[in-house]
């Protein structure tokens, strides 16, 4: 426990003589607890305040501030997107697996890749867990040459999502929104497709028609290797 942490939020009575320790608890402002268990134990006991709506608390284990709404503790000012993991891509790797990034904490995720380079311009592919079946997707893009030509294609029950981003020699790029990967339901995605090497801007979307919960994923180029860049996984706050 830190210097400000307490195990009890006291309630004083008229005429009570306060000690320095009593005043120090009061002076800490928002009461600080080691964790949610200590917070629960800090209210309602003998000589302690009764927990009521509007009470604030800070937890040391997650470095967050909470307010009690009369029924439950709610995080104060919680970000909409929470960074879960950040993985730096190594040198000349054919695939990168990010493990244990999906959990029951979030239903929806955002995966981004920036920096680094592909050894050759290629599509960025994605696999959920160890699953190699049930992938359906569509890619729609425009060949911006003259005349501009719209093209589209898709994958029907493939072994992988074939285009969730682009591994260019200038930058590895992906911005993937992923729904329900950790629920025992089909997973779905939407992504940008910035295939700069051929002047192909586009979008991709699809689903994985397997009702299994996954905890991780693998990104790989269609050929060649990846070097450098960072894969970040964010969770969308459920509430």
């Amino acid at each position: 426990m830190g210097a400000n942490a307490t195990t009890s939020v006291p309630s004083y009575v008229a005429g009570e003589v306060l000690t320095a320790a009593d005043l120090n608890v009061t002076n800490s402002g928002i009461p600080v607890f080691a964790d949610s268990t200590a917070r629960t134990n800090g209210f309602g006991g003998t000589g302690e305040k009764t927990l009521a709506e509007g009470q604030y608390a800070y937890l040391e284990d997650d470095n967050k501030t909470y307010v009690y709404d009369g029924a439950a503790w709610k995080e104060v000012g919680g970000a909409g997107l929470v960074l879960i993991s950040s993985t730096t891509i190594g040198s000349a790797v054919s695939s990168v697996t990010v493990s244990n990034c999906f959990s029951s904490t979030y239903d929806h995720y955002k995966i981004t890749v920036n920096g680094g380079a592909g050894s050759t311009p290629e599509n960025l592919q994605m696999q959920l867990g160890a699953s190699t079946t049930g992938y359906y997707d569509m890619i729609s893009y425009i060949n911006t040459g003259t005349p501009a030509t719209p093209l589209s294609t898709g994958t029907n029950n493939g072994s992988i999502w074939a285009r969730v981003g682009a591994a260019m020699t200038s930058n590895i790029m992906a911005d993937i929104d992923l729904g329900s990967p950790n629920l025992a339901k089909p997973t779905y995605f939407r992504a940008t497709y910035p295939y700069i090497a051929s002047n192909f801007p586009g979008v991709a979307a699809g689903y994985h028609n397997v009702s299994t919960a996954y905890t991780g994923f693998t990104l790989s180029p269609g050929s060649g290797t990846l070097t450098g860049g960072v894969i970040r996984v964010y969770g969308y706050q459920n509430s």
């Binding site: 695939s95 592919q125 060949n143 030509t149």
Partner: protein, 66 residues
């Protein structure tokens, strides 16, 4: 062929099973890319033939998109 794979912060050589999976997925991606290339080539050919029939660029675009 050997492949280096990364799992979180660890990089190692792919096992034979993992290498086979990588090759299968790459073959699938290559087949899809080839199909898309063929589709693009067919579109270019169709544009040229329609233009030879006297259709304007706007009329071709209305028929084929773009």
């Amino acid at each position: 062929m050997s492949y280096k794979i990364q799992i979180d912060d660890t990089i190692r050589e792919a096992t034979s099973d993992e290498a086979a999976r990588i090759e299968a997925q790459r073959a699938e991606a290559a087949a899809q890319a080839a199909a898309l290339d063929a589709k693009a080539a067919a579109l270019v050919s169709a544009r040229q033939k329609l233009a030879a029939l006297g259709l304007s660029e706007a009329e071709v675009a209305a028929l084929l998109g773009g």
